[in-house]
């Protein structure tokens, strides 16, 4: 039960914040944050008791149950989500009122923001604690939904709406692919429960297709190439959203999934090689873009792409440092985002070229963010050092090419981090008003944590090992310590610092060229491909819509012609066609045939009828001839009814004609005598099909029909007229229904032609 408690607490945060917000707007954030912290506390307490699982019944029809786990991985990620979440909520308490005032919106909307943020946190906690493939997907999509709402929080802003839609479609579509993969696995192993799946996968490896599907979902979520381009766009969101979703939470979800499912990927080396390549690609692309981007949130966004590229590389290599990497990256990146938000709020600027020299006015922020930046670029004495250490450690086993790539990547990281920090705080002095304390405090707390991790690395070892054990399913020997010797990791790190410093120092020389090159390559990039695809789809859609039938005639023909063709085709392919019967015509049938001929003649004549009255008369002629047919076919009830109906009908038609304006009738008459060829064709197809189908049906008459039974039973029904017996007694329910049809039609008529005038 103690497994569920933190989850339930996390789930309760958003409703609690809502209730508190009803009472007082400002209270929502505090209530929410304390909820998150309480959940964190319970989680930490539970974690000391070791791993556990809980299984609750859910949907037995599909053999599903709600399965939650408490293990290293879930503990690490949940702590990250809750901790950063609490800080970000507190931060947004200070950030949001200003932001809303700028947007000209009601301050009450702050509550909604906190709710969404907390809901996101809950979704994230769910995602990391569930232990079932299907539930993983459900939680994954929950994060997608909430992130859509959060990114589009500024809904008056078209850019932010577009960004929200882009992220929704991209992460939504990739997560459906993930689901397809999960479904394949579920079917392959006969269960969705992760421990069982993993257990069975040991003897029966998962299919490559399913793994690729899973990987696509994870890549989309983690903003890796080629799905990376939604992340920079998503920076249109309010900064707290970026700092939470796009550093610690949602983007981490993708890599988390890969770590959670690592045992499935372990045997599939080719899939892992692909992931490795994508990881390096994202790393390179993200870092380069971060080097030239001007809006500082974008720099951070590209940096996130690059950093999750690192994490992806680690997962692909099966390194036990993968969870630790993500966990250390999160506070660094979140702190930098929060810094960026604070700077924007104080200066009103969003681009590096527009700010600078803020270290004097914002000393605390500058110091705290310097620690975060150092952590991000893996300088010693910060926890960040160890994230690169595990990275280099993993690379060192893979040979020089990979090592070189890693070195360049790490160097670029230092370069763009320096550029970012220097761009914000360095340079000639600029004075701005002091930032509110609440905006700075979360950054300071995060920086403190980063320093603490760097000074006492022993604290990190236990959670990192536990997570690594969960991920790889084997005991971990991860060690974190400073070593002052010439091992490969240290050499690589030093090389990266040198490279980074050199790049930063010479930045003016290469920045313009690089940005030009990048702009050119963007033409071939994934984003362009996506836009092109959408554009083509839109064009196709519009074109189809232009072609689509609009005319009533075509709408009718589109029903009858396919039916006709289908009918003919069906007769063609079934062996029924051999048994069409011509039937016999005896003397008794002569009258019948004559009446039928008369009906046909009248029907044909209707096509030629010019005047409306003539038309109506001919139609009734058809009806009367048919009544004659019925009479000769010994169906006097039908004949009588049909005569009466025809009479009434003719009169009604005549009445309608009398109602219609003369001129309009004449005009319509003149204009409508131009039949189109395809109408004739449609009528021909429909008629031919009707003929063939009825011929086939009439050739296969069942000799013994229920009709005979009714004749025998008519006496029991006290009704000498069998037809009346059938109508009122045996099939009386039909008649009741039929009469209801009449009344419904009557209601329709009365409402269409109301007595009271002027009522519409």
């Amino acid at each position: 039960m103690s497994i569920l408690l933190p989850i339930l607490l996390a789930l309760a945060c958003a409703p609690l914040a809502y209730v508190a917000g009803r009472w007082r707007t400002g209270a929502a954030a505090w209530v929410g944050a304390s909820g998150a912290l309480a959940a964190l506390g319970v989680l930490a307490h539970g974690w000391t008791q070791g791993p556990a699982r809980v299984v609750l019944p859910w949907a037995p029809t599909w053999g599903l149950s709600l399965e939650f786990t408490r293990d290293g991985l879930s503990g690490l990620y949940a702590a990250m989500a809750l901790g950063v979440g609490a800080l970000v909520v507190v931060y947004s308490r200070a950030y949001l009122p200003h932001h809303l005032a700028e947007e000209g919106r009601s301050p009450r909307e702050e509550v909604r923001f906190h709710e969404l943020l907390l809901a996101f946190m809950a979704a994230m906690v769910l995602l990391v604690t569930v232990d079932d493939l299907l539930l993983l997907f459900v939680a994954l999509d929950l994060t997608t939904i909430v992130s859509y709402l959060l990114i589009g929080f500024d809904r008056e802003d078209p850019e932010s709406r577009a960004a929200a839609l882009l992220s929704l479609v991209l992460t939504g579509a990739t997560s459906v692919v993930f689901f397809a993969g999960a479904m394949t696995l579920g079917l392959q192993y006969g269960t969705f429960s992760l421990p069982l799946v993993i257990e069975r996968a040991a003897s029966n490896p998962a299919s490559t297709g399913a793994l690729v599907c899973l990987a696509v979902g994870a890549l989309g979520k983690s903003a890796q190439v080629p799905f990376h381009f939604w992340l920079p766009r998503a920076m249109a969101a309010p900064t707290p959203v970026s700092s939470y979703l796009h550093s610690a939470a949602m983007v981490a979800a993708g890599v988390f999934l890969l770590q959670r499912l690592y045992p499935l990927f372990a045997p599939a080396t080719e899939v892992r090689d692909g992931l490795l390549a994508i990881g390096f690609l994202s790393m390179g692309l993200g870092s380069l873009m971060a080097l030239v981007a001007d809006p500082f949130k974008r720099v951070l966004a590209y940096s996130t792409i690059a950093q999750y590229g690192y994490a992806l590389v680690l997962v692909a290599l099966g390194s036990e440092g993968a969870p630790l990497y993500v966990a250390i990256h999160a506070p660094c990146k979140a702190a930098l985002f929060l810094t960026a938000g604070a700077v924007t709020q104080v200066t009103g600027k969003k681009k590096l070229s527009e700010v600078g020299g803020l270290r004097h006015s914002l000393p605390v922020l500058a110091g705290a963010s310097a620690v975060a930046a150092a952590g991000l670029s893996a300088l010693p004495l910060t926890a960040g050092f160890f994230k690169d250490e595990v990275f280099f450690h993993a690379l060192a086993k893979e040979g020089p090419v990979v090592m070189a790539a890693g070195l360049v990547g790490a160097g670029l990281t230092l370069a763009y981090t320096l550029r970012l920090w220097w761009g914000l705080f360095g340079g000639p002095r600029r004075d701005v008003p002091a930032a509110p304390r609440l905006l700075v405090a979360p950054v300071v707390v995060l920086a403190g944590l980063i320093l603490l991790g760097g000074l006492l690395p022993g604290l990190l070892v236990a959670p990192a090992r536990a997570a690594a054990e969960t991920m790889r399913g084997e005991p971990s020997t991860l060690e974190l310590a400073y070593h002052l010797d010439a091992r490969a990791e240290n050499l690589l790190a030093v090389g990266a610092w040198v490279l980074g410093a050199a790049l930063f120092a010479t930045r003016r020389a290469w920045t313009p060229g690089l940005s030009r090159v990048l702009r050119r390559t963007a033409l071939l990039g994934a984003e362009r491909g996506y836009r092109l695809l959408l554009h083509l789809l839109d064009r196709l859609s519009t074109w189809l819509h232009e072609k689509e039938v609009r005319d009533l005639r075509d709408r009718v023909a589109s029903v009858l012609v396919p039916t006709g063709l289908l009918g003919i085709a069906v007769l063609g392919v079934t062996p029924l066609r051999a048994r069409f019967m011509v039937g016999t015509v005896g003397w008794a049938d002569v009258t019948l045939v004559m009446a039928l001929a008369f009906a046909s003649a009248a029907a044909l004549a209707t096509l030629r009828a010019k005047g409306h009255l003539m038309l109506v008369l001919l139609i009734s002629c058809v009806g009367f001839s048919l009544a004659m047919v019925f009479a000769f076919a010994a169906a006097p009830d039908v004949a009588l009814t049909s005569v009466l109906v025809e009479t009434t009908f003719t009169l009604l038609f005549a009445g309608l004609l009398a109602l219609l304006p003369e001129a309009r009738l004449r005009r319509a008459q003149k204009e409508s005598q131009k039949p189109r060829g395809r109408d004739r064709l449609a009528a021909g197809v429909a008629g031919a099909s009707a003929f063939l189908l009825s011929w086939s049906a009439l050739s296969h008459l069942q000799a013994e029909r229920v009709g005979q039974r009714t004749v025998e039973l008519a006496e029991a029904a006290h009704s000498p007229n069998v037809v009346a017996a059938v109508l009122t007694d045996f099939r009386g329910l039909d008649t009741v229904g039929e009469m209801s049809v009449v009344v419904a039609a009557l209601l329709g008529v009365t409402s269409l032609l109301g007595l009271k005038k002027g009522r519409r």
Binding site: D589, L596, A603, F649, G687, L698, A745
Partner: protein, 122 residues
Amino acid sequence: MILIASLVVGLLFACGVRMVLERELVRVACGTVLITNSSVLLILAGSFPVRGEALSVQKGWPVTDPVLQSLALTAIVIGFAVSALLLTLVHRTQRAHGSLRTDRLVEAELKRVHAVEKEEGH
């Protein structure tokens, strides 16, 4: 007899379809009447091979299938009710659009669609 009956059914149906595909409301309504007629004929055509005297309940005397007759009756009545509704609809529609032609309806429809699209714009 089978062939003749099905030929007539097909013919009535074809004429009905041809009328429904006209560009004018009254003719469309007429077409639906013809189509209904053709299906009623099909119903009773099932009894053409074995038919008798409907009113006889004497044993052994052939009787036109009473179930088919009652199906035909029900179909006639339903057809009648729906056609009456259709006629009033024709009346209202032409009054609302000031024309009996179906292409006017389409024009009005398109005009609205374009108005919406213009308003949305880019």
